[in-house]
Amino acid sequence: MAMYVLYESSSGYGLFEVHGLDEIGQNTEAVRTSVSDLSRFGRVVQLTAFHPFESALDALNQVNAVSEGVMTDELRSFLELNLPKVKEGKKPKFSLGLAEPKLGSHIFEATKIPCQSNEFVLELLRGVRQHFDRFIKDLKPGDLEKSQLGLAHSYSRAKVKFNVNRVDNMVIQAIFLLDTLDKDINSFAMRVREWYSWHFPELVKIVNDNYLYARVSKMIDDKSKLTEDHIPMLTEVLGDEDKAKEVIEAGKASMGQDLSPLDLINVQTFAQRVMDLADYRKKLYDYLVTKMSDIAPNLAALIGEMVGARLISHAGSLTNLAKCPSSTLQILGAEKALFRALKTRGNTPKYGLIFHSSFIGRASAKNKGRIARYLANKCSIASRIDCFADGATTAFGEKLREQVEERLEFYDKGVAPRKNVDVMKEVIENLQKQDEEGKEPVDASVKKSKKKKAKGEEEEEEVVAMEEDKSEKKKKKEKRKMETAEENEKSEKKKTKKSKAGGEEETDDGHSTKKKKKKSKSSE
């Protein structure tokens, strides 16, 4: 009775025929000895057919099916094509050896090919696995590893639900590019000014803005051709009729030299380049804003996209930013001052990159440090939510921002701010309600979303407070709690997660009782 063996590899399916069955019998010990030696093994087992996967996507489908123990159409057609036909009513004269009995039963149901997966088969498969690259002539050494690597990466990514849109690398690259662009545009603009000033020196003093200068110089071209007719055009560019008149007059009395048409063309091309770069910078900024709202919406809502992006790029990644304590976040960017102060036992800096958010500027000199610390704490919370929570909502970020505003007011006027616990509670409640009731009309949803933000924040604060009490790893626990918080919010969509959330809550007694209390409060 003929015996075949199916071997699934990352580059394709292989079907092997086992000869000399009677010789070996079903004795595993003997099989083992033959397995180790390729020449002996090659006599026992021979390659019947090999079906390479068509594309990476196809391979991913196959590996998912194989891990579930399910037969795909490709596998089915491969088997039916290469194994002898199973005749109706007659007992088939061969059998197929497999690694997994579950797959075997599947195959048998569909195609009536008898399958077996005993120890003998496993030994044979070990041999095939060991010598596989020698069997398949087309595979160069190292090819198999590469296909394994690629397939494993795509399989693992699918498992952890790797979301391409939420890659923070884009933001880091974009912010670097933005800075480089700024520097370059500035240098080029200076160059345009110098160059054109050979021809028209007075223009430099009249038009101060770089971008406008480039536009104007491009428009004026040769100053001798400048007449009163150009006033409307210049006004349009400069936005001020007086300035336009000034330009015209200066042009008439200019002491600059004339440029040949060729030179003028060159200056113009360069000016055009500068304008294009400036336009690109604007587009890049918009891109950065969209990306920030994708990957870190709460951070962006709290301190703005630019500062948020700078913080992320300085920390190295969003995860790094989330991992560092809020005291680090407060002085990210002022390391030189910090270590100098630590070494000389002076005063450490109060703020780093955070300084550029609007809040610090609005605080009085005495309170700058306090606001910086408070803001850094809130930023830490926001970045942790962004990093570890599943949804992309700005609910928390906006509420956190409100809290900072309230704190500023408190320093100004003495108006007591809301308790954090209450604010977070509101946000979570609102987010829950939002999910339960589905889509709402605009007004109601606005109100509700505000409430929800408050609730969410509140729970965050409470979670944070609780974690500070306990000595477990802050990061992992918060993550878990974010997950449970978010999972509570998405009650309808992810029912399986809800049971997990329930389980997780029970593992943590102190927190669970509080949560249950809050839940009962909210339901009332």
Partner: protein, 299 residues
Amino acid sequence: MRPPKTGRGGGGSGGGRGLARGGVVSSTRGRESGRGRGPGRVKGRESEPGSGIKGGSKVLVTPHRHAGVFVAKSKADALVTKNLVPGEIIYNEKRIFVQNEDRSTVEYRVWNPHRSKLADAITTGVDNIWIKPGVKVLYLGASSGYTVSHISDIVGPEGCVYAVEHSHICGKVLMNMAEKRTNVIPIIEDARDPAKYRMLVGMVDVIFSDVAQPDQAKILSLNASYFLKSGGHFMISIKANSIDSTIAAETVYQMEVEKLQMEELRPTEILHLDSCEEKHACVFGGYRLPRKQKADSAV
């Protein structure tokens, strides 16, 4: 927070860039890469607790008895491996730079025995770790990939490490690490079920198991039956409390060893890791080793 590699010049109370009181920072500490401009910038911490080597001090790097591993000697000795991806660090470990005769620098990463059981075993003095350049390793329980990265350094570009980790959180970190190192193959799957990832793994020379599960002997033997070549070797780290916390540690180790022996995993060394952890042991051994002086199955 220790001085990181990038120095954005912020003034004392005036935070922020561009406020250059006292001059612009043009720090030329050797490892700066352009004040933080450009990708690939590394945020490294200078000192790890317990290694005692300051960056920049004179260190002598010599090869260890085990191939692929090195020892850095200065005030305190440290175990290091040669960095497969120069410039990248995984877990804020320290790096040591050594200048060659031809002025090129070789980068070594410090291997912390408190974090990695394999490093602990090496410093305790194991005979043979079986992991050397060019070897294929299956690592069960890869976690965030700290030990995996060092193993990947040792086996080099010819070898490869199949890293199996079940948890998604650690899996993400592992995958990020694997993106930089092409000889690490990340598999986010339960190690109890090698059939599920049989398509992704070839035959390996060594299995390294650090799963801390009560049925870890069974996990190891199942994976070995699928993927470990005959005459291959294994290392399993046994945490006595995760097998059975009520009985004595020695008894637990004996039990595990017996379980392994029943599955043709013959232990050759048992090491008690007492320097860095409590109630931990490491068992090294071979799989389907040829038996001496046996008539029928001599290979």
